[in-house]
């Protein structure tokens, strides 16, 4: 493993032509922000596309020159000597359309009106994102991916790749994901969205013009989200019923307040919410949670996931975590079953980890080892030209 951190350089690719979206709307003159790590080999066969989840971006791995604490969000997974080894693979991270991290999104100007999109940014879907990513790969001269990799919403994109562009994906690694959201999941997203759109500073999504940000809504949206990313056990272990010191040292042991922070978990959630509201765009949050809600490749097949998977050609590794109740193992097993019905090559690891949904971003040796071994096999295929 290299001791020097890998230096990442953000890049931008501009697309003049209109991209027609699933809704029928289109965007033109848009930009996709992306980063690459490692070297594309001569026959351009070693590319690995990494799809990001809700609040992430193209900054997948490495650090920015001279910037402390600027590690990419999957830096433990991707880099020289890491499970997805950039000594062997050419890894691409791309920021999705509609995001607030560099790709064209609601904060940018609509070339048709000359005004900031705001709430008028068209609704984007997972399929739209995948199509945009495919255009980026075309420009990079990459016809086929050695692998597409993603967790959570990123896993949905990886799955969608194998459905929309089956001939362009050799392997798909789908972590802590699902073939669609449950009603409970959509419900959580809806609470988050209502928190944002009912914030007096939201102004129907055109808050940029008012020089404000619906921070209260974003905070609550993030708090709700954050609760669902952790497991009850981890939350109990980390915070329990512990009171904050100032409260605990009160004569009564309580403050009898509904405004102040009394329990440690409240403090943690407010901190997470505050941090998030400082950097995340409200319209982007609305767009992305809708993309999550909409994703349902079986819908066009009367809910029959096996029928939807009939057109896949890729080999799959699926990973789930036992304590993930937001994207539970049962949801991964649905995908496993649909792939089995189609006799696809699939491996499935159900990692008994305590961390809930967030486990896909954390270091768990069993998880990391399985991904490492799987990519080692892909690497072997590449170097020998023989399918494993």
């Amino acid at each position: 493993m290299s001791s020097q951190p890998m230096i990442a350089t953000p890049q931008a690719m501009h697309f003049a032509d209109a991209l027609v979206l699933q809704s029928g709307a289109s965007v033109r003159d848009y930009t996709l922000a992306y980063e690459t790590y490692g070297t594309l080999n001569a026959d351009k066969s070693n590319a690995v596309l990494v799809c990001h989840a809700l609040n992430a971006s193209h900054h997948v791995a490495g650090v920015y020159e001279g910037q402390a604490n600027s590690e990419g969000w999957w830096d433990n997974m991707i880099g020289p000597g890491k499970p997805v080894d950039t000594n062997q693979f050419f890894v691409i991270g791309v920021n999705n359309l509609g995001s607030c991290f560099g790709s064209t999104g609601p904060m940018h100007t609509d070339p048709d009106t000359g005004k900031v999109y705001g709430a008028d940014f068209p609704v984007v879907t997972v399929e739209d994102w995948v199509n945009a990513q495919a255009l980026l790969l075309d420009r990079l001269g990459i016809h086929q991916l050695a692998a597409v990799l993603g967790g959570s919403l990123g896993g949905m994109q990886a799955l969608s790749w194998t459905l929309q562009h089956p001939e362009r994906v050799k392997h798909a690694v789908v972590v802590a994901s699902a073939p669609n959201l449950t009603a409970e999941n959509i419900a959580f997203n809806e609470v988050a969205r209502r928190a944002i759109v009912t914030d007096p500073d939201f102004h129907g999504g055109h808050f940029y013009a008012h020089g404000v940000v619906p921070k209260r809504g974003l905070r609550i949206a993030r708090m709700v989200g954050h609760i669902t990313y952790l497991s009850d056990d981890v939350m109990n272990e980390k915070f329990g019923r512990e009171l904050r010191e100032a409260v605990a040292h009160n004569a009564t042991g309580y403050k009898y307040s509904t405004q102040d922070i009394e329990f440690q978990i409240e403090s943690y959630l407010r901190y997470q919410g505050d941090k998030f509201s400082e950097y995340f765009d409200a319209n982007t949050y609305l767009l992305i949670t809708r993309a999550l809600d909409y994703f349902d490749p079986a819908r066009a097949f009367g809910g029959d996931l096996s029928a939807a998977f009939a057109r896949t050609q890729a080999k799959y590794l699926l990973v789930s975590f036992t304590t993930d109740w937001r994207f539970s193992p049962a949801r991964s097993r649905e995908m496993v079953q649909a792939l089995l019905d189609n006799q696809r090559d699939v491996s499935y690891a159900e990692i008994d980890a305590p961390h809930g949904h967030d486990a896909f971003l954390l270091d768990d040796a069993r998880y990391m080892n399985v991904v490492r071994s799987y990519f080692a096999r892909i690497g072997q295929e590449l170097s020998t030209g023989v399918a494993a």
Binding site: L317, R333, V336, Q337, L340, D341, Q343, D345, V346, S347, Y348, A349, E350, I351, D352, R366, N369, V370, S373, Y374, A376, R377, Q380, A388
Partner: protein, 193 residues
Amino acid sequence: MTNSTLKAIAALVPQGSRVLDLGCGDGALLAHLQQHKGCTGYGVELDDTNVHACVQRGVNVLQLNLDLGLSVFADQSFDVVLQIDTLQHLRNAETMLRETARVGKTGIVAFPNFAHWPNRLSILQGRMPVTKRLPYQWYDTPNIRVGTFKDFEVLAEKNGLQVTDAFGLQDGQRVDTWPNLLAGTAVFKFERS
């Protein structure tokens, strides 16, 4: 599984079969079947280390708990379903046997034969056997089902399974004479009748 046992089991699997290996361990048998007999398929395994070993080998592996059933697999979706040294670890061994016959056209089961003569000897001396084949003490054994060659015949019949081949294995060698006495491992090949 010794190499000779592996080969004896593999010999029962027809060329090019679609195979499901329940409790596939480190995937050695499946890898052998892929490489030498052009088979395809999946292993099912619960243990993390074994799952990892399978992925390393390039064997499709599914980390599932067999005690929760085989519902992810469609009826008759495999040519051969293997249960090699698996049955004795299962709480719902009988259900799993029926499931094996539902999912596969042919089932192959191998398990330690408790009626093997050294075990009988040990019991005669008043102690539970501790042997190379059954290396655990009675109080900490993962083998929660102990049965004999003859017991399986009864169970197979009860569940409408038609045994198409049955023999013992001892030191990797096929035992066709008095297998219930002379073999440490019982092997059955069966179909739904």
